[in-house]
Amino acid sequence: METIVSVKPLLAVLVTLFVIPVLVSSSGKPNARESWIFIAGTIKLVLILSMLPVILEGKQIVLTLFEIAPGASIAFRVDGLGMLFAIVAASLYIVTSIYSIGYMRGLNEHGQTRFVSFFALAISATIGAAFSANLLTLYLFYEILSLATYPLVTHHQDATSKISGRRYLIFILGTSIGLVLPAMIYCYHVTGTLEFTTAGIFADQLSKPGATVLLLMFVFGFAKAGIMPFHTWLPAAMVAPTPVSALLHAVAVVKVGVFSIVRVLTGIFGVQLLGDFNLGVVVMTIASVTILLASCIALSQDELKRRLAYSTISQLSYIIFGVALLSPQGLLGGVIHIAMHAFGKITLFFCAGAIFVATGKKYISQMSGLGRRMPFTFAAFFIGALGVIGLPPTGGFYSKWNLILGTLEAQQTLFMLVLLVSSFLNAFYFLPIVYKGFFGKSPDEDDTTPVKIKEANLCCVIPLMITAVISIGLFFYPTIFVNLIKVGLAIK
């Protein structure tokens, strides 16, 4: 494979890192601060997009920074998969930063400079993880991301967020140190390399039980992916301000977890080895359990953000499920779900936040009739919900379609049922919200002193419209992402 050495991936990672001192120094001037964020985000996206043509030609961009030990370096390699993830994260970062202006100012939150600084750090780490050339670099950025998110999750600095933050750390840091680190060191010990390669790094050093244990350590260790039983941090982390939940806990953080698992499955073990040991089924079973259970729990949640969180948990497992199918269609469907779910779910979170900013309401039971007051928000919510359920005309349909095809291709009919049942569950827990929102009894009708509820401010509404539109657009034009995946995973 042809590779090009370029400093661009490094710049793309660093640009939001270097803007942090600027942000801190302009902490007294919110407008200047936010324009800096916007500028940095745009430069980042432009840098990433400038690499796109090269990647689509099937080349890779590489950059080795530090050689730690033979076969273990801190290095970047941009391939199709990483590119896909980076584009999604970087573009949504811009949208989210606009949204968070509206959200944070709308609620008059404290410590906004700290918030945006750690946000920038988190997005740097996300892009770094996307461009990692090997497991060591990936682990590095994974850990940075974990730590950068902690002050965001606990932003309110109250008792609830303290408990949530504690749970977040125990699960994320605990698993990454306790499971991933030993597994990674073991891989390096056995093979002497951690480089991602399509064939996998193992020749025949692993026995089947050994491989299974190692695989499970990775799958559960990357707890950001929310595989049960290591999922409980995600609902807890919903105490964070909504932009955090939206970008980090629907896109960046959780997807880094999933992305890491995908990398390990395809780059460390290799499809071949997984197929030989029949490990795909193991992972698929775990993922299926998570999909179904999380969907059921989501049904019972009344707080909107928590319901979204459980929905995220189940959707994340779709991706892992798809990859674990090990068939080209499954891989395609799984990986493209990273993008499709991202746009759908972020729309939903934006809507939840917008409702909270406008009305202060967090619980679904309070939201009936709101749709008539906030038509744009609820329309976007509807589109987002369609995307997550996987119905046309949204991008979510495309990924689900491919996933189902993948199960057929891999002749796993039983698992196809999982997908279908889960889709029904998704519909059950999303559509009633929309229905009640538009057609339910409005709260101000039985209130003696009606409060006029309007849409949230423009900075909140515009981003959710944008993501909703993109979500629909992806139904019609998924080609770039599809091509990236095909290039990245060398399918067909």
């Binding site: 920074l65 530090f66 050689e67 730690i68 030990a69 273990a72 370096s73 801190i74 008059n108 404290h110 060591l136 682990y139 590095l140 850990e143 940075i144 730590l147 002050p151 606990t154 600095q157 109250d158 008792a159 967020s161 303290k162 933050g165 504690r166 750390l169 840091l173 605990g174 140190i177 306790g178 680190l181 030993p182 060191i185 073991y186 390096y188 010990h189």
Partner: protein, 492 residues
């Protein structure tokens, strides 16, 4: 000038005497003299390191006598590295210490600097010397100065802690002296290289075995390996903060260096691992030390004391690595000498800043510290992450080598202890962070939106703290270079 090796050690000694004398004339003179002495020493150490990397081991004959008869300084890659580390840290700490020394021991500042310099002289001499008995004399200088320093700290507990330290320290040093006596009895020589040469012919002797055990026991007591650690926590906690900042990172590390020097240069790895069968026991001891240190740290209520138990824990890392019996473990141990010195130094610098402002640092005193001392806390967090072992801080990379070494040697218990101690450290430090981060708002909500008053430590302390914290990352990223250009050539 070829006298650099001697000058590294002699300059601080001269400066100590001059600083002491200058105090009789004018108290304020002693600080610049001390600073100058250490700056020169650091410069010489740097020169020597470059020289050694460039042209190999330096042999410096004291008084011009050839080695077995006279005392020789043998400076190879390992001690050149440690020399630079010791002098550099001592120098930086002296810069940062000026305000704390004035605060804590104002009327005795000149004597403080004199003893401080003598202590550093001792450490440097221990590192540079190639003579077994000279090593003992210099160990005694470091010990004697530390006894005095510890007693100078806390008025009530200092003398008791110090006297306990005296008793255990004397036992340790005497064991070492006895060990040297046993070796002398069999070899008739005191020069390390000469002794090593003669020992290779009489490996079966029980006297040599006992000599070896005695030397190791003595050094272990001095470095506070677990069951022999009892003196350390009290001694370091109750000493003046300006001194604990230099003794905590350096004393134990230099003793680890001595252990490695004895193992590699005097007895030879072949003798230790192939003739004796003590390696397993030592690794188990290290494993227990790691776990015990971590658990005891959990029980502490005072930040400084908690950190001292972490030192006990870290000692286990290095002893275990050195006794692993393979190159990776030894590499990890040597790398960890550098890394642990840096991160402990950074931690204690932050603690010094806190003590300077808060006077007492029991955990509840730290409330709201992130708001009050953001820069100090930034340094503290970075150092803490390094102790936990989060990449790209240097602590991760030495842990990486240690884990690899443990896997190669099949010492799974040690690997497990490393992982568990990482988790324990994570709990420990996040417990501290939580107090510093959350409880700022205990007073009420006014502070939430108001500006928290920043009460930072003096700039000189902050600059040093920042510099060292940055070096934690830089050294981490360049650990590959350190390993390839210094440690591996040394081990070959």
């Amino acid at each position: 000038m070829d006298n650099y090796p001697a000058l590294i050690v002699v300059t601080p000694l001269l400066a100590a005497l001059l600083a002491g004398l200058a105090a009789w004339i004018e108290d304020r003179l002693s600080y610049p003299i001390a600073l100058m002495g250490l700056a020169l020493s650091t410069f010489f150490a740097f020169k020597v390191l470059m020289q050694v990397i460039g042209s190999g081991t330096i042999h410096y004959r004291m008084a011009g006598w050839a080695p077995p008869m006279g005392i020789e300084y043998t400076i190879d890659l390992l001690n050149a590295l440690v020399l630079l580390l010791v002098s550099g840290i001592a120098f930086l700490n002296l810069i940062a210490s000026y305000p704390s020394v004035n605060q804590e021991t104002n009327d005795r500042a000149a004597s403080f600097y004199t003893i401080y310099l003598l202590f550093v002289t001792g450490l440097l001499g221990v590192t540079a010397t190639g003579d077994l008995f000279n090593l003992y004399v210099l160990i005694e200088i470091t010990s004697l100065t530390s006894y005095a320093m510890v007693a100078l700290g806390d008025r009530d507990r200092g003398p008791i802690a110090s006297l306990n330290y005296v008793f255990i320290g004397v036992i340790g040093a005497s064991f070492y002296l006895l060990g040297v006596g046993y070796l002398y009895l069999k070899t008739g020589s005191l020069n390390m290289a000469d002794v090593a040469h003669i020992l290779s012919g009489i490996q079966g002797s029980s006297t040599v075995l006992v000599g070896f055990i005695l030397c190791m026991l003595g050094i272990w007591i001095k470095m506070a390996l677990f069951p022999m650690h009892v003196w350390l926590p009290n001694a370091y906690t109750y000493s003046p903060v300006a001194f604990s900042r230099v003794v905590a990172p350096l004393m134990t590390k230099v003793m680890v260096y001595v252990m490695i020097r004895l193992m590699v240069t005097v007895f030879g790895l072949d003798y230790i691992f192939n003739t004796l069968h003590l390696a397993d026991a030592a690794v188990w001891l290290a494993t227990i030390a790691i776990l015990a240190g971590g658990v005891m740290a959990l029980a502490q209520k005072n930040l400084k004391k908690m950190l001292t138990y972490i030192i006990v824990c870290e000692i286990g890392y290095m002893v275990g690595g050195a006794w692993m019996g393979n190159q990776l473990g030894m590499t990890g141990a040597i790398l960890h000498i550098v890394n642990d010195a840096l991160m402990t130094f950074a931690l204690f610098l932050a603690v010094g800043n806190m003590v300077y402002k808060l006077k007492t640092i029991d955990l509840p005193d730290l409330k709201g510290l992130f708001g009050k001392m953001p820069w100090t806390m930034a340094g503290f967090v970075l150092a803490a992450l390094s102790i936990i072992g989060v990449p790209p801080t240097c602590g991760f990379f030495s842990k990486w080598y240690l884990l690899l070494g443990a896997l190669e040697a099949g010492a799974y218990h040690f690997a497990a202890a490393l992982i568990i101690s990482s988790l324990i450290c994570a709990i420990l430090f996040f417990k501290v962070f939580e107090i510093c981060f959350f409880e700022s708002l205990a007073g009420g909500h006014e502070t939430a939106h108001g500006v928290v008053e920043i009460e930072e430590a003096p700039v000189s302390m902050l600059i040093v703290s920042g510099l060292v914290s940055l070096s934690i990352i830089v050294v981490g990223l360049y650990s590959g270079t350190i390993v390839n250009s210094i440690i591996l050539p040394f081990l070959k």
